[in-house]
Amino acid sequence: MNKVENGNHLTVDEIEIKLLLDAIFLKYGYDFRNYSRASIKRRITQHKTIAGYQKLSDLQHQILVEEPAFRKLLHDLSVNVTEMFRDPLFYKKFRTDIVPILQTYPFVRLWVAGCSTGEEVYSLAIILYEEGLRERCQIYATDLNESVLKRAKTGIFPISKIKEYTTNYIQAGGSEQFSDYYTARYDSAIMKKFLKDKIVFSSHNLAIDGVFNEMQVVTCRNVMIYFNRKLQNRVVTLFRDSLCTGGFLCLGKKETMKFLSCEKDFIEIADQERIYRKHKS
């Protein structure tokens, strides 16, 4: 027997987490094996405690035999925190530097990958509407998590957030009445229907699914920070292959193409806002 490749350097906890992630993948097809370990471990351990399991192996058995137990774990594994016009300066840059180029295309396809509950998608839809691009564009908004997609489709956000979103909207260079974009009802703000017209929400898993159309813009913000290098490389390759020549890739504020396999295929056009453009090769 070859003993060189064994897991001696792993603690029992780490082995059990690895087994749990394998179990999830084998049974349900969700692939968390290449997510950043520290974060995933923290979330699993928290779930174990809150859900009242004694051991990780108990949790593993339970999610294998009871899908609802798995759904609960899945819920606790995802980080879905998002907001409208998050990092306002990014949206400002989008308006000033990307929109004028999009205006030269007869038709524009945008892909918001990892859209969570949709705040980012509606923010982009507002800008495209204000810049007169609405009729000529199609937004694909995807996430691996079906339950956040359901909420994204409704376009209903807590009214308590509206003040913050209005401030963000103005900082992002918005000059209309933000209140024109939603209807207030009890404690909800419901996004107006015309914003939804050009959005298709659908499930897509960046760890396993492939290219589905040619895009002029891909935004994938605050998603890749949860992935290890290997998965990050897979995902940027997927984006490169999805983008037309001259297409734009927008990452989160603390994400970068630096050191990734496709770095050479892109030019950085806004370093603070993390906007990249695919080379004319």
Binding site: D13, A38, R42, V79, N222, I225, K254
Partner: protein, 189 residues
């Protein structure tokens, strides 16, 4: 502590910049470990503070980047609005998950992941703050065999944070800010 430390994690809240400004510039150029810091910040505009501290120090002081590999003699400061975590392979990860103890970045998140990554080869330092963040992180460090240093609450601009830790664990060192840099040098160099 039975092993040469691989890293220091440091958490500080209210009164934090003053505390960092008194400690980090005192550390010598060839400081042999990375120092990873969470300072509860109001906003990302504090980048200027990182630059100021960098200019005043022998060590490189920078905002932590995603997937960055830890280097000795470098001080990493968590960016505003992100949790900062340490991976076993000596790299850093960020997350935009919910605030913990009303804070993002949270000291507990950094300390707990660092304790898991480095075990006994870690030093945890908890300084001034009007928060209870960091106590559970210190407990984890202690349980994994790491070394714990808490600022003497009597000397802290805001005593709640160090006091909460002292109530929870028996810290290896309770010290004033004046002695902190020297202590860190003694323990690592």
């Amino acid at each position: 502590m039975n092993r040469q430390p691989k890293a220091i994690v440091l958490g500080v809240s209210t009164g934090g910049w003053q505390a960092l400004n008194r400690t980090i510039p005192e550390l010598p150029e060839h400081f042999p470990v990375p120092l990873i810091t969470v300072q509860h910040m109001a906003s990302s505009s504090d980048n200027i503070l990182v630059k100021t501290l960098d200019q005043a120090s022998h060590l490189t002081v920078k905002e932590a980047d995603e997937k960055e590999t830890l280097n000795k003699g470098t001080v990493y400061i968590a960016p505003a609005n992100y949790h900062l975590m340490v991976e076993k392979n000596m790299t850093l990860s960020l997350s935009t998950g919910q605030p913990v103890n009303f804070s993002r970045p949270s000291i507990d998140v950094l300390f707990e992941t660092a304790a898991d990554a480095f075990g006994a080869s870690l030093i945890g330092v908890l300084l001034t703050g009007a928060s209870k963040d960091g106590s559970l992180g210190m407990l984890r460090i202690k349980n994994r065999g790491g070394l714990t240093i808490v600022q003497d609450p009597k000397t802290a601009a805001a005593p709640l944070m160090p006091q909460s830790a002292i109530d929870l664990i028996e810290a290896d060192y309770v010290t004033g800010l004046d002695e902190l840099a020297n202590l860190l040098v003694e323990l690592t160099c």
